[in-house]
Symmetry: C2
Subunit: 241 residues, 2 copies
């Protein structure tokens, strides 16, 4: 079975300094169904340290494409996501990875998405960040928010894996953003008709719709779930004259 | 601010063989707000390999409690979750980690929960699995489902972190299972009254309720979200005579 998003998503490590981290990232990718690894000016990594960490993902490790510049590595990209750790002074409007996750999945249906991970110690440079269509951070505990490189790669791949995973041999059909937005419109119209959230006027309905967007946004809606919500809305409209 | 679930959750590595993995697990824990690390018969780990991987989580690494048996390590537990990889022949009824996640969070509000991770090569033994209240697997790609030990620890801690994370300085109040089950009852009653899913008789309503349980189960509901869903149900009941 084809799982298109996986084929179109590329993991790019920019100047990784640890061979073990590269091997470990390769394993994380294979564990989650990804294959496309690109390395920009990596440390020497075809050694025991990397093979040991890659374990049975040596095919992903050895299949990695090596580039001498980030521009070359990402030249086929429709979307470039840079991962970063929020600095004391924010350099850039930073979203979280979860904010862009639905958009990554949608874009990757038909287009190449490249997700960048910077150096272990210094992350991505300002110049590299300028090449990104979005810059995101991975939320973590304030006491120590800096993730190990392979952990960051694993989490990103795992979240993508979860949202596109096969279920009982059937690929889950995720709803498109367009479909989901139409569902929100339908839901809002129905709640208005139902008179829910009227006490505080329209403002309260706005709050409610924002809550629904957060709730459904966290989980990633499947096609059939969107249909279920809309079916219930239609039934409410029918019954509330 | 107290974040109780974190204080009551203990990560237990059973006979870990790699010092780097122990250090890396300590970092994963600190990144996600956890501190309680227990080690059962670990390899020698107070060395450069472990410190290098722990990075700034050396406090978690050095604070680890060492035990000579799993029984001793888990004697204060109310709930013991064993993580395992599904074998060719299933030894045990295996749930996924996501199936028990809400229960872990609920239990950890007031009780100690221990989550076990087995040896890098052989996982947990049958005898160790018998000590568990639940055995779960972490879903992964079929081509290579065996996760790196520290990746498994990181994912489990990260999912717990996400569901109990602070939001704008406010701890999110997660709904209890009791509250959630009452919401499902209310929702089912309302849908029945609404006549939704009637075409196929009661069977279709069952399918719909299962879909809702999966949809809301994936995301983990907050207290205010449960209230919102129930508020809408109440409004529907009012308007559909």
């Amino acid at each position: 079975m084809e799982r298109k998003p996986f084929q179109n998503i590329h993991i790019v490590l920019v100047e990784p300094q640890g061979a073990g981290n590269i091997g470990s990232a390769a394993r994380a990718m294979k564990n989650t169904g990804f294959k496309n690894l690109a390395l920009v000016n990596p440390v020497d990594y075809k050694n025991d340290e990397a093979y040991k960490m890659a374990c049975k993902a040596d095919d992903v490790l050895l299949g990695a494409k090596v580039f001498t510049s980030l521009e070359n590595a990402t030249k086929d990209a429709s979307m470039v996501i840079g991962t970063t750790r929020r600095k004391g002074r924010i350099r850039y409007p930073v979203l979280t990875f979860y904010d862009v996750l639905p958009r990554i999945i949608e874009t990757a249906q038909k287009n190449n998405v490249f997700i960048l991970f910077g150096r272990e110690d210094k992350g991505l440079s300002n110049k590299e960040i300028e090449l990104c269509s979005d810059v995101v951070e991975i939320p973590a505990d304030k006491s120590y928010p800096s993730l190990n490189l392979s952990h960051a790669v694993f989490l990103v791949c795992y979240e993508l894996f979860k949202h596109t995973a096969e279920e009982k041999g059937q690929a889950i059909k995720l709803a498109s953003m367009e479909e989901i937005n139409m569902m929100y419109e339908h839901l809002e119209k129905t709640l208005r008709k139902l008179g829910y959230g009227e006490k505080g006027g329209m403002h309260l309905l706005d709050v409610i719709m924002k809550s629904f967007r957060r709730l459904f946004g966290r989980t990633g809606l499947m096609h059939k779930e969107v249909n279920m919500v809309r079916g219930i809305c239609t039934q409410i409209e029918k019954r509330v004259g």
